[in-house]
Subunit: 167 residues, 2 copies
């Protein structure tokens, strides 16, 4: 298994591609990819970084007119439901999905696993699997019905572990 997120790449191209895919996916699913939602998605795509809702709020507010928290949270909820972004529980933050091309939006067997750099907050996303997430067996044995899964690792990304890696 490999993880997307730490390699160098054509960033503006990658953003354009993601936007285009998002447009078409929302259109197919009869979801409204409105300007507000698109704007929030663009902001999250900018850095391949996990961003807090209030970080996004601040950037949105740069345009002069004031923006309130519910605006951001509504857009984030929409993007989460559409499978375009993920919530990073460990950070109470959000990051754009990097595996859009690989699976369908509602693909339940897609169990994303995240590698989170505690220094630069870059997030890499690996394609996990139910059979290897360490939960399925335990749940089956005890009669627990799993609905959602969280698999995250925090540490240092390749770039940050080169230089100063003091906590």
């Amino acid at each position: 298994m490999t993880a997307l997120g730490f390699e160098a790449h054509d960033h503006s191209g990658c953003i354009d591609d993601a936007l285009e895919r998002a447009e078409s996916r929302c259109h197919d699913a009869k979801l409204q990819f409105t300007p507000a939602r698109r704007r929030v998605y663009e902001i999250l795509l900018q850095g391949h970084q996990a961003m807090g809702a209030y970080d996004i709020l601040e950037i949105l507010g740069k345009g002069g007119h004031s923006v309130q928290p519910p605006t951001v949270y509504r857009a984030l909820d929409f993007l989460l439901r559409a499978g375009l972004i993920h919530r990073i529980e460990r950070l109470n933050a959000y990051a754009a999905c990097m595996l859009l091309a690989d699976h369908d939006a509602g693909d339940a067997s897609h169990v994303p696993a995240f590698l989170i750099c505690r220094q630069c907050r870059t997030v890499a996303e690996a394609e996990g699997d139910r059979s290897t997430d360490g939960l399925t067996d335990a749940a089956a044995a005890s009669g627990f019905v799993v609905e959602t899964r969280v698999v995250e690792a925090e540490g240092l990304c390749p770039a940050c572990s080169e230089g100063g890696d003091r906590p």
Copy 2:
């Protein structure tokens, strides 16, 4: 792999055992298991439930004299560092460790996996393993240095999935 937490058991005995083990472990590690810390630990042991810091704060405050948030968070930090409790990221909450007897405090290969009931907040803890957490391969492939791991599933426990299981 099995999970502890959903079975019936001798609860007051289990609390006493846990407290005794905590005492001796802290003593061995030269950590101070002070009354404030012990009290917070007792509260978490009461229910085998994930509890928010402010839930604990409220119970602590019942004793008349006022208690402030930092008091609770400091106790929680200590108990986390001592390996006596876990933080449940999905809920921003805390739960007593149920596998005290099975491993040492600083055992890094111990990767706890949690089954969280969204209805009653009961938490079961399964003994995970690095080799099956779906992260090790991806991290190794990309040069990421993992420091901490989060593996959590949310759903319905056996008891709650019997009755009304509407979200």
